[in-house]
């Protein structure tokens, strides 16, 4: 079991506050891992360290065995680690199609073509349309991204990530802020990708039923530290995790430290 993505002793400190505290994990190829933890536990910060938005104060990130700790987000994406954002992060004044096409174009490696018209790359448009169909957004392809409803923006966000076609997908609360009716569609998309079996997915979520259903393993962050890491069953049985979610752990945890 070789790990595709690994962290060793990964830490980041903001001022005096340690947001991620010596987290070491190893994610095997084509694995589905979820990250849970209360608000402020450092989940998104951990993602930012994996995707390169933040540089760690200490520790390493390894991708397929080689160190990528110092690589920029751009280079990590090109290497094969794509991410979606928790706070909707699209191109507001471009159309839905243009948003996805930019991802397709990047994956195809057409980055510096400045003499041909973008319409001469038909296949990008077709591919982008397929991704939009997958997230049920193809009927909105000509709308400006800023005119989409929140749930639709989330879908667009995921379509952009999928269109990058990276081996590793980092999904930061893909269903955050969505209405209940919209969640199943996204869940369906994630399940479809998982079933294809050729992607490694790391998911941050609060919806426990979704996590239990999808995950091969779950890691729990609490106050920036790795509290537990194991199969869904193990995590459910773990007393520390239960008290972290039910409260009361904080004092106990600090007492131990």
């Amino acid at each position: 079991m070789t790990a595709i993505l690994e962290t060793k002793d990964l830490s980041i400190t903001f001022g005096g506050h340690t947001a991620v505290d010596s987290v070491s994990i190893a994610v095997p190829h084509n694995h589905f891992k979820s990250i849970i933890g209360p608000n402020g536990a450092g989940k998104t910060t951990f993602f930012n360290l994996l995707s390169g938005q933040l540089m760690p104060s200490k520790g390493q990130v390894l991708y397929k065995g080689s160190e990528i700790t110092k690589l920029s987000p751009t280079k990590r994406t090109r290497a094969g680690i794509g991410r979606s954002f928790q706070i909707t992060n699209v191109f507001p004044n471009l159309t839905v199609m243009e948003n996805v096409r930019l991802a397709v174009q990047s994956h195809a490696g057409v980055r510096y073509q400045m003499l041909k018209h973008f319409r001469s790359f038909d296949k990008f448009e077709q591919e982008a349309e397929e991704w939009l169909k997958l997230v049920l957004l193809d009927d909105k392809k000509d709308a400006l991204a800023r005119n989409l409803a929140h749930g639709e923006k989330r879908k667009l966000e995921i379509a952009m990530l999928l269109a990058l076609n990276t081996e590793v997908l980092l999904l930061d609360e893909p269903t955050a802020g969505m209405s209940l009716e919209e969640v199943p569609a996204i869940l369906d998309v994630i399940r479809k990708i998982k079933q294809r079996g050729d992607r490694t997915i790391i998911l941050i979520e609060h919806k426990m039923d979704m996590i239990m259903d999808l995950s091969d393993s779950i890691m729990v962050l609490f106050n920036g530290a790795l509290l537990a890491d194991g199969t869904p069953e193990e995590i459910m049985k773990n007393e520390m995790v239960q008290s972290a979610y039910l409260g009361g752990l904080h004092s106990e945890h600090t007492a131990k430290a």
């Binding site: 751009t74 928790q86 400045m114 955050a176 802020g177």
Partner: protein, 337 residues
């Protein structure tokens, strides 16, 4: 399909306007109008080059005059030092392209990592550096007073020069249309919209910004060449903030991110400048035309924040979209660390 059709219609419209402008000197022989229109075309090139930065890549530069000035001085010095011949003129164009490309590349690499307002300030400082250089390097630039020079034969006739300026504007417009509609142009727009996201899509933002800066710098240099040739004179004013502000305001009034807007903006600013100065004969207050300019700018920003072309496009777009569902308010996403 409709999109292609309407694009074609626009292209036909542009072609008719260009043709009209091309035959104008043969049917309407007014020297002052030709000179004024030549100025409009020259500043349209400058404004379009600025639009690549401001409108397409979302970069606010306060140092655009440095490229304009490099072009103006290069052609001036070449014509003065060597013979005013076509070969030297072409050499001056080549040197301008090289110089502006190198300077914009270096300045871009040094400054484009910065956040927007720091970038704006630093570009202003670089332009100031060139202004000081032009003032102090008296043996070449004759300091503040500047110098006159003769131009090659083919640039002497006002009608010919008018046509050359028009052709330059049309060529730059076509090239930049293609550039902004290329896959790379789309990435520039993505950077304008959301830098972080562009980066996480695997695009190296700095490289794109430098490319935009080089393209924009070279074209501003070309505008500078034409400007100096039109006056047959060059002094330090070509490096001043006024040039940058003109480019900025032309772009904003016409409509950022549209190219056509830059041309219209250049026309409006140049014509109103001309008319307001003329009105000084009517009342002395118009001698202070800059006051009226100030008022125009304020009104434009208040009522047409997207510029003339931007507002028109919105009007058209708004009418088309009236039937579609209203925008739902955004749900607030849950906060996390």
């Amino acid at each position: 399909m409709t999109k292609v059709f309407s694009n074609n219609r626009m292209n036909i419209f542009y072609m008719i306007v260009a043709l009209f402008l091309a035959v104008l000197p043969f049917v309407y022989d007014s020297r002052s109008t030709l000179i004024l229109l030549s100025q409009v075309f020259i500043f349209a090139v400058l404004a379009m080059s600025y639009d690549i930065l401001l409108g397409y890549t979302g970069i606010v530069s306060f140092g655009h005059a440095m490229f304009f000035g490099i072009g103006a001085y290069t052609v001036g010095v070449f014509m003065k030092r060597f013979e005013p011949e076509t070969s030297y003129f072409l050499l001056a164009v080549l040197v301008t392209i090289l110089l502006t490309a190198v300077v914009s590349y270096i300045v871009g690499l040094l400054t484009l990592r910065l956040k927007s307002h720091f970038y704006a300030m630093l570009t202003m400082a670089f332009a100031g550096l060139f202004l000081v250089l032009a003032e102090k390097w008296r043996t070449v630039t004759y300091g503040n007073d500047g110098f006159t020079f003769r131009v090659p034969e083919f640039l002497r006739d006002r009608t010919d020069f008018y046509l050359i300026c028009l052709a330059s504007m049309v060529i730059v417009f076509i090239l930049l249309k293609r550039f902004t509609n290329s896959p790379l142009g789309k990435v520039l727009q993505a950077i304008r919209e959301n830098e972080q996201r562009t980066e996480s899509l695997g695009y190296s933002v700095l490289q794109y910004k430098v490319i935009a800066s080089v393209v924009s710098g070279v074209l501003a240099g070309i505008a500078g060449i034409l400007y100096a040739v039109s006056l047959r004179f060059v002094n330090t004013s070509v490096f001043t903030m006024d040039i940058t502000l003109d480019a900025l305001l032309m772009t904003i009034i016409g409509g950022v991110g549209t190219l056509v807007g830059a041309i219209i903006g250049a026309g409006i600013i140049e014509f109103s400048h001309h008319w307001l100065t003329e009105l000084a004969k009517v009342h002395w207050i118009f001698e202070r035309w800059i006051i009226f300019f100030g008022i125009i700018y304020i009104l434009a920003v208040m009522f047409f924040p997207m510029g003339i072309v931007g507002s028109l496009q919105k009007l058209k777009f708004g009418r088309k979209k009236k039937t579609s569902a209203p925008v739902k308010s955004e749900a607030v996403s849950q906060g996390d660390s």
